[in-house]
């Protein structure tokens, strides 16, 4: 071989430890396991960082557990979301919060009645993207004990 050497191969390899998770990272993961997504809200500008990074880069202040916020998810236990057809109504209402009945026993046709919040605590009108809702006026719904309504009777209604 008489050609001059023009190239040199160099395979480099550097090993690193997998970084240990930070305390904040561990806490975030623990909350995820509980179906909870948390963030940190900057005490100065109010911006919420999800996942939390332990500081606000805009205000350059550290954020801590005292600044922890949920991402709208307030429930921690299993719950039922139900579609109700009120007597005399042709449109349905979506509600959460059934009390006095096990989740497994909730069924189509179950007759329920409103459990009202005390007078004075029924809040203001709440408006959401789907229009006016019941807000906090009705705390929950409970079975009346009456016989179930047949499915056929529920066939015609407007969503």
């Amino acid at each position: 071989m008489t050609d001059p050497v023009q190239f040199m191969s160099h395979h480099t390899a550097v090993e690193y430890a997998v970084p240990e998770p930070s305390r904040l990272g561990v806490h975030f993961a623990e909350q995820l396991a509980r179906a909870r997504i948390i963030g940190h809200k900057c005490p100065q500008c109010g911006k919420v960082y999800v996942p939390p990074r332990g500081y606000c880069p805009l205000c350059v202040v550290e954020t801590t557990a005292a600044n922890e916020v949920d991402q709208g998810q307030k429930e921690t236990e299993d719950y039922v979301q139900a579609t109700l057809l009120l007597d005399g109504s042709d449109t349905t209402l979506m509600v959460t919060g059934l009390e006095g009945i096990a989740i497994a026993d909730v069924r189509t046709g179950l007759r329920v009645e409103a459990v009202w919040a005390p007078e004075g605590e029924r809040g203001s009108v709440s408006t959401g993207i789907r229009g006016v809702g019941l807000g906090d006026a009705v705390k929950s719904w409970r079975p009346t004990g009456e016989p179930d309504v047949s499915r056929d009777a529920l066939a015609e209604h407007i969503l």
Partner: protein, 139 residues
């Protein structure tokens, strides 16, 4: 652990290239500076003056240890996987020293002034590792 790997392939230019080509042929080639100093390994510029150096010269494959440091526990990236000494060796004909492993066998043999010669690898490719290591020159 995670690993970061880069498969580099570097161009070597005429001066370093001449040195590596020489190694492939089991010859040691240095470069003479304008001031007459022979550098092994060769560099493209005289580090004292900054002037380009390009006059290639042959030097011997044997020389003297100028400085040695014993390694009781080699790293996996070192040239040898048994205890050895790093050595700065001034080959006969050179004015600077070449760094490589010296397979001297024991710490008390890692001494300046020892005469050594290159142990060439069975297959040479044009790389510094064509020199497997230095070994004591037979008397």
């Amino acid at each position: 652990m995670w690993k970061l790997e880069f498969p580099y392939r570097r161009s070597v230019g005429p001066v370093i290239g001449a040195f590596l080509t020489g190694l492939r042929d089991r010859r040691v080639i240095g470069v003479r500076t304008a001031g007459g100093r022979v550098m092994v390994p060769p560099f493209e510029y005289d580090p004292e003056t900054g002037e380009p150096a390009s006059e290639m010269v042959d030097v011997a494959s044997a020389g003297v240890v100028e400085r040695a440091a014993w390694v009781p526990e080699p790293l996996r990236t070192h040239p040898l996987d048994r205890p050895f000494a790093w050595a700065l060796v001034r080959l006969d004909g050179a004015d600077t020293a070449l760094l490589h492993a010296f397979d001297c066998g024991s710490a008390d043999r890692a001494t300046a002034g020892t005469r050594v010669r290159i142990r060439w690898r069975a297959e040479t490719v044009g790389h510094l590792s064509d020199i497997e290591c230095f070994e004591p020159e037979p008397a």
